[in-house]
Symmetry: C2
Subunit: 221 residues, 2 copies
Amino acid sequence: MKNDRISMSVIRRLPRYYRFLSELNANSIKRISSSELASRMGLTASQIRQDLNCFGGFGQQGYGYSVEQLYESFGNILGIHNCYPTVLIGAGNLGRAVASHISFESKGFKLVGIFDNNPQLIGTKLKGIEIQSSDNLVDFCKENIPKVAILCLPRDSGENVAEKLINEVGIKCFWNFSHYDITLKHKDVIMENVHMSDSLMTLCYRITDEERAKNATDETE
Amino acid sequence: MKNDRISMSVIRRLPRYYRFLSELNANSIKRISSSELASRMGLTASQIRQDLNCFGGFGQQGYGYSVEQLYESFGNILGIHNCYPTVLIGAGNLGRAVASHISFESKGFKLVGIFDNNPQLIGTKLKGIEIQSSDNLVDFCKENIPKVAILCLPRDSGENVAEKLINEVGIKCFWNFSHYDITLKHKDVIMENVHMSDSLMTLCYRITDEERAKNATDETE
DNA sequence: TAGATTGTTAATCGATTAACAATC
DNA sequence: TAGATTGTTAATCGATTAACAATC
């Protein structure tokens, strides 16, 4: 497996490849060509071959790619078989949805602790894990050394908690659902943002822009 | 406001600009230069000036940009003052989190109906709206003509419901949380995906890749 | 006026697409 | 062998950065 710094554009396509391969595999499809996969995924065959060749030559000239082999390789590339210990911070609506909706185990993670500062939630269980007071967070982390923290917090506290985790317990990997962009400062931190509000605003722009375009042509007619 | 088809790269930066401007405005900062904004946002001044000039000349040479004016303009560009009627489909963990966590009104949307097919949920309320049976969905839409549908469904049903909404009631705008890529088919559909699982897998890749790089240099030493 | 900072054009960089020789 | 399809190099396209004249 060669790997000379893969570009983010390629990296962001990997999970989608994995999904399609998983589906093909589940449907017992044995082989696929770059052009067949391209038409299914709405990409070009060229791009698929370029993407795959970032990681090695998986294909066979004249034949294509073995779905099963490719699927497995992609799992390894993504690191799906890891078990990175992970803490969830914030067990409000969003935190609970994330905890119950996402299959951590099949994606390389393991939930080991959940924290909130709402007394009503402390002591209750979520995914079989007891929700602890945020006061225990630092001590828990020092003892259990999680690799990843999921931030499901309202805006301001997101930044504070992240800073604390970075500086006091050395967590460097975050899955961030809080609205604000934490950390332009820490260059060595891996921060994966899920900015749902940004996505919704983008949708608003796209709809509004289309309406504007429609009105403009109406006027021209 | 000029607008000759804005590229997706620019569009996806708009909500982030809006957030930063909102913050600056809330802090009563009156003017800002492209270079000051660039350093705060981790972009280049050049890019900011290019981006803004997609929509018009908001600045003043020698002075910079008026925060308040720019903030307001961006609100208009994004279409934040619209009130697109929106239905939420799926009121499980994720649907409930989305409904309660997101401020639709401040982003150009209005929740008008919620649907689920779990009998336990039907009749209960969420954000003041009674959850209805999915059986009512088509009739409701024919009567109320929502502009947007939010899909918070498990994988397969996502595709089915989307197809039904597109074909039977003519909905063309979707905020999609379901795992699978609906619609490569419908070219005129606006689909904004929030693939949380993909984001988590990307995080897994980035962590795993870093570990691999670390091990590689360790071995070289 | 002098200094600052924009709007815009030109240069560079990166990502996607096309082409084709290698080979199963 | 002939046909298919890869891996890879070259060409194109788009996005970002740099430069600078215009101007507040």
